[in-house]
């Protein structure tokens, strides 16, 4: 009996701590890798020097001011943003897959991506970004994501309930509608088409501390709150009615999680573009390894999402030297085949 209990409680924290350490290491490595010749120790010391109290003990003699600037002002915010976006997408993906009881769900399923894309397209095509500065696109994307989610939510609502089926169908329908508007806008102003497409593919290029400051609070708070609902999600996997019978207010939890997920994912999308597959693949793969318990699945997916995003972004900016590949292309190139592999494997095991 106690063995069983220990099995439940103690098996995973070590794994989670290991994943957290791996995330730190991957971030450090990502900060180090790039055209400027910087060593792991140099980037590590540069970061440590920022910490109050420790700076006195760290020597930065061999790191030029220029390199410190590259590390702190260029690479660090970009890597942090990538990690945050990965964490956000994977967490929301895991939560939505549980909430909708559908392993094919992702953070974008309720219209977040198409809303954000339409918002960003409007910002780019109207020239708003040229007038109002680089924050016009994220802001409009964020607003677009929330408006579309709100619309989907209301279309799907039947009385006080939000049936999963209508939610998924409303999401698909509204996404198609907004994509059509976006395509129309793009055709009408082919001049900016390149810029729009680039945004749609998703990228962390030219992101700075401003983006991190804007997105981080929402993402951190959102992810932490989502984790508070891990047990509710576990029970809700057995169906709304069963959840109700086990003391979970299923409809309320559903609403809270949809709102939290929408804000968190919208914050991520607005600063990075619509990066696909991370929110779908990561929770799916993690679930295959550790099982469906959200108390472990949510934090583990977050770490793996962060790690994956930092790695793919590093590949995206270094693979072709001076030309940067949109990170969404890399995730899709990796994600597509991996997903097919998962599907095949699932078919073979007959689940």
């Amino acid at each position: 009996m106690t063995v069983q209990g220990k099995h439940q409680v103690f098996k995973y924290p070590f794994g989670l701590i290991a994943l957290l350490l791996l995330l730190f290491f991957v971030c450090l490595a990502a900060i180090t890798i790039g055209p400027a010749d910087i060593s792991l120790s140099q980037s590590g010391r540069t970061l440590l020097a920022q910490a109050p109290g420790i700076s006195a003990f760290v020597s930065l003699d061999d790191v030029s001011v220029n390199r410190q600037a590259i590390i702190l002002q260029v690479r660090l915010p970009r890597v942090l943003l990538a990690a945050l976006v990965g964490i956000a997408l994977a967490t929301v993906g895991a939560a939505f897959q549980g909430l909708l009881k559908n392993p094919m769900a992702d953070p974008y399923i309720i219209g977040i991506s198409s809303g954000a894309a339409l918002g960003a397209t409007v910002a780019i095509i109207t020239g708003l970004s040229a007038i109002a500065g680089y924050f016009a696109v994220p802001w409009l994307a964020f607003i677009g994501a929330l408006v579309s989610t709100f619309t989907v939510y209301n279309i799907a609502r039947v009385g006080h309930r939000i049936p999963v089926y209508t939610l998924l169908l409303a999401g698909v329908a509204l996404s198609a509608f907004m994509s059509a508007i976006m395509s129309f806008l793009m055709v009408m102003s082919s001049k900016e088409m390149h810029q729009v497409v680039f945004w749609l593919l998703g990228s962390f290029s030219a992101r700075n501390w401003g983006h991190v400051q804007a997105a981080a609070p929402l993402i951190i708070v959102g992810v932490l709150l989502l984790n508070c609902f891990a047990r509710d999600l576990n029970v809700m996997l057995f169906g709304d009615e069963t959840a109700q019978h086990l003391g979970i207010d299923a409809e309320k939890v559903k609403k809270v999680l949809l709102v939290l997920g929408a804000f968190t994912a919208a914050a991520a999308v607005s600063v990075s573009g619509t990066i696909g597959f991370v929110g779908l693949i990561v929770p799916h793969a993690v679930r295959l390894v550790i099982g469906p318990d959200h108390r472990v699945l949510l934090p583990a997916s977050a770490m793996v999402g962060g790690i994956l995003m930092v790695i793919t972004d590093t590949v995206a900016r270094t693979l072709l030297g001076s030309v940067e590949i949109p990170v969404g292309v890399i995730t899709a190139i990796l994600g597509g085949p991996f997903f097919i592999y998962l599907l095949k494997k699932k078919k073979m095991t007959g689940e």
Binding site: Q8, G239, T242
Partner: protein
């Protein structure tokens, strides 16, 4: 401590269709209640209303001393456990994790399971015979095993009242009995109030103290099983003819379905048939003829004879005689009256001795008075004659007077069709 339920003026509708109509029901603390009724009678909907899975359109539901509708799900779940009809599970939790979720209503958001929770989960799994499955994914066990796991999860809730929607649907007979016996013992020992929707009337008769029979969204009858599950009530609610017999093994009773009600089968309406049978030779015809709507009588039969029991269960008129006694004048007279009322008399393949020779004589007499007489025999009459030839002689006379020898029941049914046609021309079908 037990908890009861009180329902007052409950209405529920899906859209415009009323499912429950002004329904009142009191479930006493510590009782074992079965809700039965045909498909669509509203029994599952009633269960969903009292488990708060559906919100009633109108009406009051009290759980113990509280208003169920104003309680939060957690408060309800601390007292009431529910085993739903559909226990399909898509995500691969282990059986142990699944059962442990029964402890959810007792845990705070940041609390994790303690020794008490593990102990209760283990207890619930042991009494439902699922402990050996604990490490298996719940997606990979059989439907019956999953059903028991879901019951274990409900019991891990330490409920004071448990609601079950057809808990035996996916179970084989062994596990059906095991589960209901378990609920019965929990009901007896710890006063757990049990409310189960059951399809199987025999299980309901066997286990419950109180039966609620539903029809068209209303309670048709409620009370003791013997009273509620009568053949009249079942005919009215299910449109089915059943025989109710005592079950000597359980001290309760059995309900044996015989077929659709007379109202539905009109073939035999208006035609009276008298059976001379005994020892079980008449059961098939008794069942079929009553089903087809013939008005059947039989005799003379000894009390306790197999055919006698079936005839009684079917509500058929019987000329009866004391057990193992020869046919007396009194019962012979009664039999003659029944024969006179009938259009057609059927002799089944019974053996004749001195004790029941009178039946044969009466049959011949009726034949001579113009009744149809059918004798079911495949030429083995000699072997059934224990009267040193007296019976054989009467049979010869029966043949001479136009009695018909028939080998199989199908001939009997077609003959009866002709009789009916001659009595009521042009009303066939």
């Amino acid at each position: 401590m037990s908890v009861g339920l009180k329902v007052k003026g409950l209405y529920f509708s899906y859209g415009k269709e009323n499912i429950l109509n002004d329904l009142d029901l009191t479930i006493d603390p510590g009782s074992f209640v079965c809700i039965v009724g045909p498909n669509g009678s509203g029994k599952s909907t009633l269960l969903k209303n009292i488990s708060k899975a559906l919100l009633p359109g109108r009406g009051e539901i009290r759980l113990g001393e509280y208003n169920l509708l104003s309680l939060r799900p957690k408060q309800v779940a601390q007292q009431m456990a529910v085993v739903p009809q559909d226990t399909h599970i898509e995500f691969a939790f282990t059986v142990y994790e699944t059962v442990l979720m029964g402890r959810t209503p007792f845990m705070g958001r940041f609390q994790s399971e303690g020794p008490k929770d593990f102990a209760l989960a283990r207890w619930a799994m042991e009494i439902t015979n699922t402990w050996h499955l604990r490490d298996r994914p719940v997606t990979e066990i059989s439907g019956g095993e999953r059903q028991r796991v879901v019951v274990a999860r409900a019991l891990a809730q330490e409920p004071r009242i448990i609601l079950l929607d057809e808990p035996t649907a996916h179970l084989d007979i062994q596990h059906q009995m095991e589960l209901l016996e378990l609920l019965q013992s929990l009901n007896k020992t710890s006063g757990l109030t049990v409310v189960a929707v059951l399809h199987d009337l025999n299980l309901a008769a066997h286990f419950s103290e109180y039966v609620v029979l539903m029809k068209d969204g209303r309670i048709f009858a409620e009370g003791e099983p013997q009273r509620v599950l009568s053949s009249e009530n079942i005919r009215d609610v299910y449109g089915m003819e059943v025989a109710i017999t005592d079950n000597p093994f359980t001290g309760r009773f059995n309900i044996i379905p015989l077929g659709r009600s007379k109202a539905a089968a009109k073939n035999g309406r208006g035609v009276n048939v008298h059976l001379v049978c005994g020892g079980g030779t008449g059961i098939f015809l008794l069942d079929r003829l009553t089903q087809l709507g013939y008005r059947v009588s039989c005799g003379v039969l000894n009390i306790g004879d197999t055919d006698w029991s079936r005839a009684k269960a079917l509500g058929v008129q019987v000329a009866e005689e004391a057990p193992f006694a020869s046919i007396s004048n009194v019962s012979a007279r009664k039999n003659r009256t029944l024969m006179e009322r009938s259009h057609c008399i059927i002799l089944t393949s019974i053996p004749f001795g001195m004790g029941n020779l009178v039946n044969l004589e009466l049959s011949l007499e009726a034949l001579k008075q113009g009744k149809h007489l059918l004798v079911i025999s495949n030429g083995d009459f000699d072997q059934r004659d224990f009267t040193k030839g007296k019976a054989g002689a009467i049979l010869e006379e029966i043949k001479k007077n136009g009695g018909k020898i028939m080998i199989n029941p199908q001939e009997v049914f077609s003959f009866l069709d002709e009789v009916r046609e001659s009595l009521f021309p042009g009303q066939s079908g």
